[in-house]
């Protein structure tokens, strides 16, 4: 039996998030996924069995595997996003386990912001409800590449194909309209274990993959390397030692694309140009590097570059702007009003900004727009126009989740107020719908 370092390192990583309403069985699904994929170790299971028995429950409550805080265990609800790690022979997983209960939007936004895939859970008895549409909309807005609809509690509807087919059809139509690129519907019973890790013996009409099988095989996109290169400067490395008296390197993580030695680059916002003389990949010189590698660039010319600047190929440098039009998810308790003075953090750059306009607020339930709400409160999603004190090299979020996203921060107490996505909101056919028509094109 050999499980060598080489083999385990070669497997890819999938980051995914779960979303579901209270009592849809989300914690049970996560517990089942961990348990049936043998990712729960004996001491963890023993602790769950002990607590379940103390409470007089017949079977181990798998939800206890994930609800880690005192208050969560007391109340039987999930309060905050938790991150879980598990691996199969084919892939490694980072699961952002997001609560469906209170503060759903901001928690799901947190989990979905880094996810390659979102699992939206539905109770087969209830079908697509308001919460389901909300989850689909958030996944679409955050541009999560893959969405899985898990129709749970199939055991309570006699494993009927017609129930599943109807829900899958309704959800797929809705999510497609929002521009979700790929939707996979799977009928499951998290409690009984049907189609979570093991194929179900109760639904032979279903020919698709189990949840785990899908998670293991869904392609993890490397699209970031196909985008134009973006290199936000994090830190200037100047050793000033006897050994390296003249070394001057710009440290950062390649946000998208590929960089090569010899490439002509432009530094933004100054607009100065130079050529990449060398790339140091954590101490080792290389000719080529790509996203999301952390590297250090050396340029031919000695120009003024500091943290917050963006280095991009001269051939495909982004435009800079001081007027940011974006969709934001409001994540703080204090409201965000027109006229608010805030800080805007984009890549490694933090600048002063003012909220000029809030043209609309979205009602996720029916995707209708409410014009000029004046302010946004916790969990609201709205369009904003923000004027910044200095120019930003901002891409559209549709082109890059990394260089199209930003935070709005309260300068008084440092609170993260809002998660921002520049440019168009949903990926759907926005042009096809007249702006004044009822719908999600707000």
């Amino acid at each position: 039996m050999t499980t060598t370092t080489e083999q385990l390192s070669a497997t890819t990583l999938l980051r995914f998030a779960t979303a579901g309403s209270v009592d849809d069985g989300k914690s049970t699904l996560v517990g089942r996924l961990l348990h049936d994929s043998k990712s729960v170790l004996e001491d963890q299971l023993e602790a769950v069995e002990r607590v379940s028995a103390d409470r007089g429950q017949d079977a181990p409550d798998l939800a206890l595997l994930t609800d880690g805080l005192r208050a969560e265990r007391e109340q039987g609800i999930t309060i905050d996003v938790a991150y879980r790690y598990f691996a199969t022979a084919r892939r490694r997983f980072i699961l952002a386990d997001t609560p469906g209960h209170v503060q759903y939007t901001r928690n799901m936004v947190t989990g979905a912001s880094t996810a390659d895939l979102a699992v939206v859970l539905v109770d087969a008895r209830n079908g697509v409800i308001e919460q389901t549409r909300r989850h689909a909309a958030v996944a679409a807005l955050l541009r999560v590449p893959h969405v899985v609809l898990a129709v749970n509690k199939m055991d309570l509807v006699d494993y009927r194909e017609s129930v599943f087919a109807e829900i899958a059809e309704e959800f797929t139509a809705y999510a497609s309209e929002l521009g979700v690129p790929e939707i996979t519907a799977i009928p499951i019973s998290a409690l009984a274990g049907d189609n979570v890790v093991e194929p179900s013996a109760n639904m032979d009409w279903y020919g698709g993959p189990t949840v785990l099988e899908h998670l293991e095989t869904v392609p993890v996109s490397h699209d970031l390397t196909a985008c134009p290169a973006r290199f936000p400067v994090q830190y200037v490395i100047r050793p000033q030692t006897a050994e390296h008296p003249d070394y001057r390197g710009y440290a950062g993580q390649i946000a998208s694309g590929v960089l090569r030695v010899g490439e002509a680059v432009t530094v933004l916002p100054s607009g100065k140009t130079s050529v990449i003389e060398g790339i140091d990949a954590l101490g080792e010189p290389v000719d080529i590097a790509w996203s999301p590698q952390s590297v250090t660039l050396r340029l031919k010319d000695d120009i003024d570059i500091s943290r917050g600047d963006l280095i991009a190929p001269t051939a495909s440098a982004p435009a800079t702007t001081q007027d940011v039009v974006a969709t934001v998810c409001h994540v703080a308790d204090q409201p965000l009003a027109v006229g608010a003075r805030v800080l805007l953090k984009h890549t490694t750059r933090t600048v002063k900004a003012i909220v000029k306009e809030i043209p609309s607020r979205l009602t996720l339930d029916d995707l209708s727009q409410h014009p000029a709400p004046g302010q946004l409160v916790a969990n609201d999603i709205g369009r904003v126009v923000v004027r910044t004190a200095e120019p930003l090299a901002l891409d559209a979020y549709a082109d890059s989740r990394r260089t199209g996203s930003f935070l709005l921060i309260d300068p008084a107490d440092g609170t993260t107020l809002a998660a921002g996505m520049a440019g168009e909101s949903f990926a759907s056919k926005a042009e096809a719908v007249p702006a004044d028509e009822e719908g999600w094109d707000f």
Binding site: Q7, A10, D43, Q234, I409, G414
Partner: protein, 313 residues
């Protein structure tokens, strides 16, 4: 059971630009180190001489090469440390030209500011010297080697975790953490705990140590040691308070999975004498790292959460 790598469908035609799992984790951790260097005035790395802090130091060295690491180290010395680990700590400091601050639990006990617990366990006593050192030396960012896979309360921890002027963690009032945009804003007196290894698992840490050829204290590898049984764990006999008359000492072949205070860190029976053997052992272990070796986590269901709320790392 041999597991083949899967170079096919997953990366498709973009395969040349795929990044291995360990490279992705390394890149993310380096990004976190550089963010802190760029945004904070006086960061410090918590360094215990354990494998996680050793990996942190290695990542920091890579992040700023060829310049030196722009942070000092802070060691909370419980007074019950393994001598091999202290020796390693001092070697590392000397080799990399680092500055070391030591917060000493023993000094606090001697000064009457902390009282020895009846069970002799000193791990929970670390919180006061740690938080006072942070305040007195005015550190505004404190790197910890905590990983979310360690424990269920840790699974809720952000990469950037704001602590108030009392160093307290309030799990219900954490900032949302979106994309890779870490918000390190804090008021004077507050600080941010930073966890660059958040997304690493125990196995990742060991595989990375193997790949990078990182030296570790010898106690991580199988060796003969005088131990005795307490609370289901093998503890090292020593002046810290063990064994009692009812706890016979045995010489056993053991190693450590974690390195902490001697009074509450247990050894595991093992013949894994090198990195490959350790990795093979971890890959099939049916016990978590902390479940196998940490007495203080077994005190209650929420022991870690309670300690973290008070300022523990």
């Amino acid at each position: 059971m041999t597991t083949a790598a899967h170079p096919h469908t997953e990366s498709g035609s973009d395969a040349p630009y795929a990044l291995s799992h360990l490279d992705a984790l390394e890149s993310e951790a380096v990004h976190i180190f550089r963010e802190v260097a760029g945004e904070f005035e006086k960061p410090v790395i918590l360094f215990s001489g354990g494998k996680d802090s050793i990996v942190m130091l290695h990542l920091a060295l890579k992040a700023f090469a060829p310049a030196p690491v722009p942070f000092a180290l802070l060691h909370v010395d419980t007074g019950h440390n393994f001598p091999e680990v202290l020796a390693y700590r001092d070697r590392a400091v000397a080799r990399h030209g680092l500055r070391l601050h030591v917060a000493s639990v023993q000094e606090y006990i001697d000064a009457g500011k902390l009282r020895e617990r009846p069970d002799g366990v000193r791990n929970p006593l670390q919180t006061v010297p740690l938080t006072e050192a942070i305040q007195q030396l005015k550190f505004d960012a404190v790197f910890g080697g905590g990983r979310r896979d360690e424990e269920k309360a840790r699974a809720k921890e952000r990469v950037f975790s704001l602590r108030d002027e009392f160093s307290q963690w309030d799990p219900r009032r954490q900032r949302p953490e979106l994309w890779q945009l870490y918000n390190g804003r804090h008021a004077p007196g507050e600080h941010v705990r930073v966890f660059p290894l958040s997304n690493w698992t125990e196995l990742d840490v060991w595989q990375y140590i193997a790949r990078e050829g990182i030296e570790l204290p010898e106690i991580y590898f199988a060796h003969e040691r005088d131990v005795f049984r307490r609370n289901g764990m093998w503890l090292t006999a020593g002046e810290w308070g063990g064994p009692k008359d009812t706890e016979p000492v045995e010489t056993r072949l053991v190693r450590y999975r974690t390195v902490g205070d001697m009074s509450c860190t247990g050894a595991v029976d093992s013949d894994a004498a090198d990195l490959d053997a350790v990795i093979a052992e971890i890959a099939v272990s049916r016990l978590t790292e902390r479940g196998a070796t940490r007495a203080d986590d077994k005190l209650s269901e929420a022991a870690m959460e309670d300690r973290k709320r008070e300022g523990y790392f």
